[in-house]
Symmetry: C2
Subunit: 324 residues, 2 copies
Amino acid sequence: MRGEFEQIRKVWAPLAAGAPGAYELRNDAAVVTPPPGEELVVTLDTLIEGVHFLADDPPDLLARKLLRVNLSDIASMGGRALGYLLSTAWSPRIDDSWVETFASGMAADQKEFDVHLLGGDTVRTPGPLTLSLTAFGRVAQGRALARSGARAGDLLYVSGCIGDGALGLLSRRGELRILSLAEQEYLDRAYRLPDPRMTLGPALVGLASACLDVSDGLVADVNHLAEESGLQVTIETARVPLSSAASSAVAADPDLFRVVLGGGDDYELAFAAAPQERDRVVALSEQLDLPLTCIGHFSEGEGVRLLDRDGRPLVLAGRGWVHF
Amino acid sequence: MRGEFEQIRKVWAPLAAGAPGAYELRNDAAVVTPPPGEELVVTLDTLIEGVHFLADDPPDLLARKLLRVNLSDIASMGGRALGYLLSTAWSPRIDDSWVETFASGMAADQKEFDVHLLGGDTVRTPGPLTLSLTAFGRVAQGRALARSGARAGDLLYVSGCIGDGALGLLSRRGELRILSLAEQEYLDRAYRLPDPRMTLGPALVGLASACLDVSDGLVADVNHLAEESGLQVTIETARVPLSSAASSAVAADPDLFRVVLGGGDDYELAFAAAPQERDRVVALSEQLDLPLTCIGHFSEGEGVRLLDRDGRPLVLAGRGWVHF
């Protein structure tokens, strides 16, 4: 493998071209300047081979997922993406060609999301490939979305479809052979290449009272919204939006609905909005051509209440759902 | 070991207390707001067990070194430290007590440098302990120091003493038994706990024409200054400032002067300043009670020229110095 300085010059500096504060990666640090009246949103995620991804994951898709999961956190705070720092610890199996394919994935998503590499660190590790990315976004001063702002009576919305990411992981493992090949490929892609809601997030500033991205799983993440807001949240599970592939999966094996509600890796936004904002949410959904589905509401109390299609409480027990 | 959420609440959230944009680590991302007229300086460094530190390094000192090497990069750009994001990938041997000692080191240096934890990610790895830190600083808009601004005729200065870090690593390995115990301990500490020049860096804005921190080794780093500025640099090696411990080491074994000039981990600042600024540099040195020593100058040309005490060129060949 190339030495550190040569790798920086040949592989990474081109990804920093055009970003003024990156100094072509020639300085000790980068400079990031939010526009007047705006502040920075910053987040960091680390992915480890064998824990968060598999050794045979295509390097370019891995790069794009690493960037996208971080950008999703920026969007969930209402931020617009600006750039990122990258930390790569290469394991012994990684060669120059692998690094170049990885960088080509970054290049593709830099165009897609209008961001640049600003700096970072590249080292070698005797252990598993370890990737860490710090993403920067910008948001109007004092207007960042938080998890804690929901009020009793607010409605709970999610963007897009829920469950595709977690079902995609099952599909990759060959556990969804009941589905058509096209459905399996759709789910697999949803897992490998999530679509962070970079346009929706900033549009929710001034509209949503609380927001996060669904990465740990719908129930766990919606519980975070409730907990941080000091409220109870009710999810009407029949209203949770499913893709047609996910619907097929759940129709074939109803137990998979647990995966839909509890699995992670959706990277959709879940947010609270006051009932009187309903028309604005509908208009925004049409404008973005993105489903924004009301799946429940917040009320005084604590915890998550799940309701089935007849309004009866559901609890998770072992494999499957139990009424009580 | 505690679960991720419990670790965040018990160990990390206290380090974020008092930092408004950190939201007590309860959101997807943090908000960082530079004061009006200032912009952010951002940098990232990754340390891996067995590569950058040893398994028996005390966790609290390791935490402090991780923070300090990043803060040094902020200082070298003329920035004042603001805060940091932390990525920790715990190897199987790490337990709660280790994590708490590590966090206690962070807490000590947070006070020392007036910074807060703003966010991060904590995961487990089957490989070696891997630590990555992203540091944030602030600098007046457009005033960040860079490596590229030196002009022909500028003088080359370094802060503090050179060589203690690299000699400290030798001392730790038991290779400097010729020194007194106090000298060995002094050097060992210099290696384990470098002193980033957080006051000097911002004071050099408007005074230095180029700056970096000496982390790769004096000759290599000064070469970076020359290369990025399109100049040649001359180092009068007899003027390179040594601590009394380093002087003892070199007196006992003159070959160790190679380690002084070529080793790394000094975290002093090397900077260029115009000759007419000499009085200001002297005054700054007195004000900060920190040696700022002129050790050479920049001229047209390229590369690094090393001169011995008689003004004769030196080149590095094998073990020892050769005149030519």
